[in-house]
Subunit: 296 residues, 2 copies
């Protein structure tokens, strides 16, 4: 949802006005590589090189590196496409050479001819733990990829959020923006991890701009991913009401499908109708139109 | 030549009797990866996964990772196939995790179902410098790949050979062997670097077995690579006579094409006829037959 929302803004607003702050809670080290799944997915979308059918990864991607890693007995639970590997490898090398995170991101974006800023939220990855009924504590990737979200999550643990530094440019981008839009992503797994960073929270408090969120639910259900079951166990409410409760006190306005506005009538948030299905360029234009409308 | 010679032995002798000691003078770090071109080439040949037409690299290899590295502005003068990258990545990761070189090599060989030992000569890579007329001193890869050997070499510098340690098992394999065969490789670039390691030399002196070398020249010329021009500038002799002079005092016997035996009549080496063209399985069988004959 986050990457598709980002693409909708990118296609319909002046690029120089846009800064995307991306979750670093999925980032991890694997086979010595720096892997940033959310940042890559946003960059692949904005660079129009994403595999459209899947929502992650590259178009015209290959499996030869992965075949060889399997042959060699390397862990193969996390899929690495041949093009992915190159990006991870380049990034890891540059980082080990001491290149700063923000300038590295800018350089990569330039190579994908992306003319907006795409900043990982924090310098360090956010270590997210999932306390599950079946397996005890799992790391994010263990839960999300290894177990394919097949575990009942009792609690989300933000293990190092209070220690991490924001990536250069993030504080200013948030504190000084006119409009802040929270993406239609999983609130518990993709947004809360960032909101747990004290400096990010401080920037949000400082920000005098409009603050809006987009609900990731359509028809009261997650389009994909484990959000439905997370709401069930982590929220006293359900569907859009649960999403609204998550955002209360944090944003002013929640964008959601028109015929679901009634679902959050108990919320203190202002509800605005929005086309939130983000598949085609037309969808994304409708989203941008409704978003502009909501700002009036 | 070395990899094809190794395959000829592998196809025609009991595997448990064979240990291949491979040059580490081409090894280097690139984009943070441990790259061992000679060792990989031997393993790809013995594992029968090599690209036959080229003499290096993998069959059914892909270029996606390389395309992306180029896109990202990473150095692209050294070609990395998608399958190559996986091997380099796995090896680098394992080495950084502290896995020993010999046991890592054994594990990789097992995954390629190779049942002989293939040992890199040294724990550290051999830093070979080429003093050239045109560019001054070049590193091995700069000379071999970047400049494609287009430089007149005045001298080969063995920069750290006296400091490196042999890989576990190499000393014993050489000191205790019954027959030692020097591969039909470039003497200056693939064999001399190993011979500069004092401990390897000590093992050779200790070895009471038969010592033979195979000339890499056919019809007095290199099959490929820069050997012809290296002989021209580095040796007072030419063709097979130069190769023979290189091996004098180091081996007893030189194997070379039958009608070129007369070319080394001034040498103290015993000359034995050998089919040294190593393209097809039949070629390799003829080589093995002549090698056995020479041992009688």
């Amino acid at each position: 949802g986050g990457a598709r929302g980002a693409l909708a803004l990118y296609e319909n607003f002046p690029h120089e006005d846009l800064t995307f702050i991306v979750n670093t809670g999925d980032d991890f080290q694997h086979l010595g590589l720096e892997i940033w799944p959310d940042w890559d997915t946003v960059v692949y979308h904005l660079g129009q090189v994403q595999e459209v059918s899947r929502g992650w990864g590259r178009r015209d991607e290959g499996v030869r590196a992965m075949e060889e890693l399997s042959r060699l007995g390397a862990p193969d639970w996390f899929h690495l496409g041949d093009r992915d590997v190159a990006l991870h490898l380049f990034r890891t090398y540059q980082r080990n050479e001491g290149v700063g995170k923000a300038s590295l991101c800018q350089a990569i974006c330039r190579r994908f001819t992306i003319t907006a800023r795409v900043l990982p939220a924090s310098e360090e990855s956010l270590q997210t733990g999932l306390l599950t009924e079946e397996f005890g504590e799992l790391s994010f990737q263990d839960y999300f990829v290894k177990k394919q979200c097949r575990a009942k999550v009792c609690e989300v643990l933000h293990k190092n959020a209070s220690q991490v530094k924001l990536t250069e440019g993030v504080y200013e981008a948030i504190a000084d923006c006119e409009v802040l839009l929270m993406a239609p992503s999983n609130p518990f797994l993709s947004l809360q991890p960032m909101l747990e960073i004290p400096l990010l929270w401080e920037a949000l408090e400082k920000c005098r701009g409009r603050k809006l969120a987009v609900s990731p639910l359509i028809g009261g259900r997650a389009v994909k991913g484990p959000l439905d079951s997370l709401i069930e166990t982590l929220s006293p409410l359900s569907g859009q009401a649960a999403v609204a409760q998550f955002w209360e006190g944090r944003v002013d306005t929640l964008l959601l499908p028109k015929d679901e506005i009634a679902d959050i009538e108990d919320s203190s948030l202002e509800a605005k109708p929005c086309h939130t299905w983000l598949k085609t360029p037309d969808d994304r234009q409708l989203f941008a139109r409704d978003f502009k409308e909501a700002l009036l």
